[in-house]
Point group: C2
């Protein structure tokens, strides 16, 4: 289990995070919040949040925009 990513400084805590979105008909649909890892698994992707929530999807990572906190996943369920 991963630790939360916490940047420490005097008297303050900050977390860095992104959300995973599914690309559907050109629109982005929220799939998993507070994303930590995305790993290849069984021909698809296993996503895990910083809280340990897991989701599997047949798809691939299409694009990233970390400044916008976005990981875009494209479904490939042919």
């Amino acid at each position: 289990m991963h630790q939360l990513q916490i940047l420490k400084f005097p008297g303050r805590l900050v977390m860095c995070e992104a959300n995973a979105y599914l690309l559907k008909d050109g629109k982005e649909e929220l799939f998993l919040e507070d994303l930590d890892t995305v790993e290849p698994d069984n021909g698809g992707l296993r996503l895990t949040s910083i809280f340990g929530e897991q989701k599997f999807i047949k798809g691939k990572i299409s694009s990233l925009s970390l400044v916008d906190h976005k990981v875009i996943i494209e479904q490939t369920d042919e």
Copy 2:
């Protein structure tokens, strides 16, 4: 051009970032620091840092570990 991601709080600035690594012979080799976007481009990936530096590679995003600030790219130059 993207803005730097800056979390503001009283008297302090923090940036959230990740680095892109190439997976080579099972080892991770630093490819681009301070990654912002990864976008599909011409059969490969175009990576852009938060400072506007760009790199192109024939490859795909293999995995992410955002808590570890890692984006792992697998080269596909067949």
